[in-house]
Amino acid sequence: MTTGALNDSGTGSPAPKQKGRATVDTLSIGCIAMVEKDGRPRRAEILSIKETKSGRQFYCNFDNFNKRLDEWVPTARIDFDQDVEWPSVEKPKDGKKNAPPTSKKSTVAKKNVTKRAVPTTREASAAVSDGGTPHPWTDFVDSQKPTPGPDGEEKLTLALDLDATPGAEDDDPMDVDEVAAKAVAAKTDTQEEFSREEEIEKLRVGGSMTQNQAEISRIRNISKVQYGKYDLYPWYFSPYPEAFTEEDVMYICEFCLRYYGDIKSFTRHRHKCTLQHPPGNEIYRDDYVSFFEIDGRRQREWCRNLCLLSKMFLDHKTLYYDVDPFLFYVMTSRDEKGCHLVGYFSKEKESADGYNVACILTLPQFQRKGYGRLLIQFSYELSKIEGKLGSPEKPLSDLGLLSYRQYWTENLVEILLEYNEKDERCSIESLAQQLAMTTADVEHTLQALKMQVYHKGEHKLVLPTKLIERHKASKEKQKTNPKRLIDPTLIQWKPPVFTASTRTWGW
């Protein structure tokens, strides 16, 4: 299985990269160096560099690690005794060389993009074994503090100058704007190689994206969020106003999802905010959770705020287009303060590809508590009411894939065991109908679970003993500790109908 997944590596390898020793001063953005992570050296790409009180730090993206594990690394964790791979130099523009970090680099984006597009050799097979080691999250969290402290020099020495906004300290904003525009234009140029058009088209039709070429978006920009009772540590970039990237903490009101950098402003807002549940119609309620349906067109601000919040935890979500064409199904848990947002999924009002979910997220503080299963089940219950087969939009995130796999497996095994006991046959299509899943999803799940076999000239479904045992065990466990499920009879919902004009105008 592992080897199968690696077959994209090493194909079409370009001209060999330049390698050589680097020092703290020459290690630049785009370099690939060996950096210590979880107690062992790993290949890491340097995405940004900043100066702190305690010295220079490097923002590293580790090979075969999800971006959410990217972190700011002090010099001590970088192995300078090994060669680094220099970013491939491509006809540097405006005569600028591959200079040390403090100089301006308008070609950075280009190099990085190029690197990204070229598959590098992966070392996954070697690394698989220790995937489950515990993580020193305290260290991780500490390392994410963005500012160097009161001595307040430049915070990001190097943050990609391409994306520098018209700075407040600049005298003439017109000039700055021009510079920014040029920079952005230059960046756009470099991206054209990757068929910008196609990418945009993909964005237009879907709610998620495969890659965001803009370099700045590879770097986490918000370090800490105070939300409800919790401190959240964002995983990915989210396009909150740039001013917030400089704040230590961003405060988010847990009911209206507005964001504040200033504690006084946030306090004042809390004083005035009267929302205690998502601003839409409740369509499901049991003693545990509620679901609300919210129309992106009618609740534009709230839905935008929700998207900004969820973008911090969803890599492939795109906020390129507005929220109008989506409905948001928001799951909440109730207490004496109100209905607290636990998770949600968005759904296109009209999906040409038959998707029943565009983006799906359980907020980090509620993860691993079985809420994801409820969200997924709810999305399929809606599809059942619509009389459609549904599927989540691709690409899935790693966590998304696991949640869906688990949900699909549980339900398929349950049904197939019944058939097996009755000694009856069952078609893939019948399974799809019973679960409101697409036949493709059923097929892929059966294959992934090694259930689909071709045996003695006949396609057969085989229930692996391990799955049967696991299923029995979970049944046993449910007797004492019942699993939470959505009760379809409590759904008060009719598929919304949109007028001809909404269809014509595409939102």
Binding site: Y230, R268, H277, L402, A432, I468
Partner: protein, 552 residues
């Protein structure tokens, strides 16, 4: 999906519709099962570059095997330590008994849209210290003023951060007095100065950080901070016909613009000519004045014909007009003197309601005529066939059933083509309108519930008939035994039907007692249904047919 070849067997395509046998692993040879693995390359739906991530791989391996499912590490959330949740989220939530229905927006639920910052707070505290306690400015009021300034700035100078427009205090004060109570005026100037200072600190951008929206679609495509773009309108399909259509439209537009321009050019020329004419006339007048003076001086006597215009002006103008019409140099402009609806150009536009009303009038009139014609044609005709055509309303006064009460209480459904959809006919109006048509013979059930009605008519040989309708039936349901008797009866038109009746039933007796004794020469046959005399269904047979002598 694609089974790996190289096996000796040819693999049949997997059909989603095909029922497959379901086996447990222990129902198949274990080494055989193992050998069957690896037939498919699994589609995960995760992006290819991420599929190889080690934590995902570990977790997936867990899902498929007996290893405990691995968890993917992620920076966790923590309970906030130095944060007073209960103070900030103080309001208590009452769960409503029913599902919530809610449509207010965030903006409507958050009061004043300006939230004062720490900096504002410092300023306001210092400011209030200088004031007497009863003229302190509250935080709420401060925010209201700031909100007003920010709104005004946004409206008056939306590009302030680019062009550095400063909104002068007078403008601010004016809009403030429009938006808020006059009591705020005393703070206006001081808060304005504070506002202005803060705007200057932030390069004259709005004080509250806002999202970056699209400004130049071509340029900020790659800017990851630009979000929530408007989705472009779905392109209408391009076809040759559509292209031709647009070209025609453009050509026509161009022509019309040319005509307009020509018209203006000629108008201006006309005015120039007029000016020249005036100048010439003035010149003539002056010259004549000189002539007159000269005449006087030289004492020339004679008529003063040369001092006036010989030809009357009007005729001249007419000549000119005739001439001009003959030549017609200007592009021909046809201004229609009437609109398509036949009214003069300057009349009010017709409303839809008027058009609908007119159409309805025409239809009504036609119907009226048809009804009249039908009535004439049917004059003196009495339909006693077995299945008479539905009677046209108001036909032959004498032969019509007359309602025993004043009016029908029939509900008419609202007309499908209403003259104004929002204007439902009022119930009272519906009551007044008598039902003009019936679309089919009324059903039996309907009849029994209708008001009792009677009709008198003359039959053959001058017999007088009284038809009743809408009488309450004597027996609601035929008894089972009774209906059973007809079970095998065949309808036979030739045969005179026999109606069951109990001559001793009290209802029948009471009824008969109301009929006066009459000479046997004439008989009144009383039938209940519209199909007098004949009925084939047992249900209809409950009706009573009585023959009694009737008066002449």
């Amino acid at each position: 999906m694609r089974p790996q070849m190289g096996r000796t067997t040819r693999v049949k395509k997997l059909q989603p519709r095909a029922p497959q046998p379901i086996l447990r692993q222990d129902q198949i040879e274990s080494d055989e099962y193992d050998s069957l693995q690896g037939q498919y390359k699994v589609e995960t739906g995760v992006e290819k570059s991420e599929e190889s991530e080690i934590h995902l791989q570990a977790a997936l391996a867990g899902t498929g095997s007996d290893k405990e499912t691995e968890e993917i590490p992620a920076p966790p959330a923590q309970e906030s330590s130095d944060f007073d949740y209960d103070a900030l989220y103080s309001s208590v939530y009452e769960k409503p008994a029913t599902y919530i229905r809610f449509s207010q927006t965030v903006e409507e639920c958050t009061g004043c849209q300006y939230d004062m910052t720490t900096e504002d707070d410092t300023f306001l505290k210092a400011y209030n210290q200088k004031k007497s306690p009863n003229s302190h400015l509250s935080e709420d009021d401060f925010e209201r003023i700031m909100e007003s300034y920010e709104d005004t700035a946004q409206i008056q100078a939306p590009f302030a951060s680019v062009d550095q427009t400063q909104i002068p205090f007078d403008t601010m004060r004016n809009s403030l007095s429009k938006q808020l109570d006059s009591k705020y005026q005393m703070y206006a100037k001081d808060i304005y100065d504070h506002w202005k200072a803060r705007r200057q600190d932030t390069a004259n951008r709005p004080l509250q950080p806002s999202l970056k929206f699209e400004t130049q679609p071509d340029h900020d495509d790659g800017d990851p901070y630009v979000c929530f773009r408007r989705r472009e309108i779905r392109q209408t399909r391009k076809t040759r016909a559509r292209d031709v259509q647009s070209t025609d439209k453009l050509r026509k537009l161009r022509k019309e613009l040319d005509i307009g321009r020509e018209l203006i050019r000629m108008t201006s020329q006309r005015e120039e000519y007029k000016r020249d004419l005036l100048a010439t006339e003035k010149h003539i007048f002056e010259q004549r004045q000189k002539v007159k003076e000269a005449k006087n001086r030289l004492n020339i006597k004679g008529d003063d014909d040369d001092l006036i215009n010989q030809v009357p002006r009007k005729r001249k103008a007419m000549d000119f007009n005739n001439q001009a019409r003959g030549q017609q140099p200007a592009p021909h402009l046809r201004i229609p003197s009437h609109r398509s609806d036949g009214r003069p150009l300057d009349a009010d536009l017709e409303t839809l309601a008027e058009v609908m009303a007119r159409k309805e009038n025409i239809i009504n009139k036609e119907l009226e005529e048809k009804v009249m014609k039908h009535r004439q044609w049917n004059d003196k005709h009495i339909d006693v066939t077995r299945e008479p055509l539905p009677p046209v309303h108001g036909i032959g006064n004498g032969s019509a059933f007359r309602s025993a009460t004043a009016q029908y209480q029939l509900l008419t459904p609202p007309s499908s083509v209403a003259s104004d959809s929002s204007d439902h006919p009022s119930p009272s109006k519906m009551d007044i309108d008598p039902p003009a048509f019936r679309f089919s013979s009324p059903l039996d059930e309907e009849e029994t519930q209708a008001q009792p009605a009677y009709r008198r008519r003359f039959g053959r040989l001058g017999r007088l008939w009284i038809d009743r309708r809408g009488m309450t039936a004597v027996n609601k349901e035929p008894h089972e035994i009774e209906s059973d008797r007809w079970k095998y009866d065949q309808d036979d038109d030739e045969e005179q039907p026999v109606y069951e009746m109990d001559p001793y039933s009290t209802t029948a007796l009471r009824f008969r007692s109301t009929i006066p004794l009459l000479s046997p020469a004439r008989r009144v046959q009383q039938a209940e249904s519209q199909r007098p005399g004949i009925s084939s269904s047992p249900a209809a047979a409950r009706t009573v047919s009585v023959s009694q002598p009737a008066p002449t």
